[in-house]
Amino acid sequence: MSPKLKVALLLVLTTSAVLTGVLVREGGASHDGARISNAGGPAIAIHGLRLKLATIRSGHVLAVRHGRALYRMQLANGTPCFGAGPAASLGTPGSVVCPHGGFPSSGDPVLDLSVYEGTRRDARDFSLFRVEGFAADGVAAVHFLRPNGEVALSVPVSGNVYSAADVPKGSIAGFAAVDKDGKRLWRSP
């Protein structure tokens, strides 16, 4: 291989590496302007997860609502995680979601941790058991929708967190994020 070719190859590889870095940064789902401005309280120790390979040692409580604590955490590799658990036992989230692409983004402003229940075996028909989750800045409420599109429940977002004390009976077929004017920003698949 000639020296010129080696230099050209080195340049191509260097450029590729730089471009990759730029694209990874720019293409990150959480780098498009959408954000969660609630930094939460001071860092607290997180334990009880028994996840040796997905170690989360500390996190921040974003809010405590209706007896539930909602957390923002991070894996050792920097991946953001969000979780929830009983407020009576702070630092022990019972559920964790780690979106490796980040959260939020303008096309994905809601991370729903609501619990759904089904009692029919002949249909995939689910109702709400508990409502809670996280939403990006600018989302004023989350609407839970009936199969016909009607709003079954509207839950206000405060401090990037939403939670409801009670849930309605009946089928739910998705949810939507709306802004302060009631304009729909996004709908779940």
């Binding site: 040796k52 692409g101 619990v115």
Partner: protein, 143 residues
């Protein structure tokens, strides 16, 4: 170029997610399709072990589970927000009900304990296809 690069990065994330999703060793455990790789959960998938839904669901045996985890890849493709079009419900079930959380995310790792869903006692950990194409995932439970 950008899409190819995105795909490569997504694959790397998925590989990392598989490793991360594997629960810590415990006395009892369940993995689907096994503890090392991914399987496809679509409307006709079944473990044929008496799950809540006869098809479109994989479930564990009845046990006293501490935690269940799920790693879902970008298959068959993620949009720019890392969402797929395959929606699954993950959680637990017993003889009376099935409960869980929905996700359509790709490149994601999720965990949930039974008490988060208001459940206890003998349960099956489950992952259920809800809509869209098959999802590529690895699920596991520790007791």
């Amino acid at each position: 170029m950008r899409r190819i690069l995105f795909f490569v990065i997504a694959c790397a994330c998925a590989a990392a997610a598989v490793a991360l999703a594997r629960p810590a060793p415990a006395a009892a455990g369940w993995c689907w399709p096994n503890c090392l790789g991914y399987g496809y959960l679509g409307p006709s998938t079944s473990t044929n072990t008496g799950c809540w839904f006869s098809s479109g669901e994989v479930c564990s045996y009845y046990g006293s589970w501490f935690n269940m985890g799920l790693s879902k890849t970008c298959y068959p493709g993620c949009d720019w927000n890392y969402n797929t079009t395959g929606v699954v419900l993950y959680g637990y079930e017993n003889h009376d009900r099935i409960r869980g959380r929905f996700t359509a995310r790709g490149a994601v790792t999720l965990y949930v304990q039974p008490n988060e869903l208001g459940m206890s006692g003998a349960l099956r950990a489950q992952v259920t296809w809800y809509g869209g194409p098959a999802s590529q995932l690895n699920a596991g439970g520790i007791g």
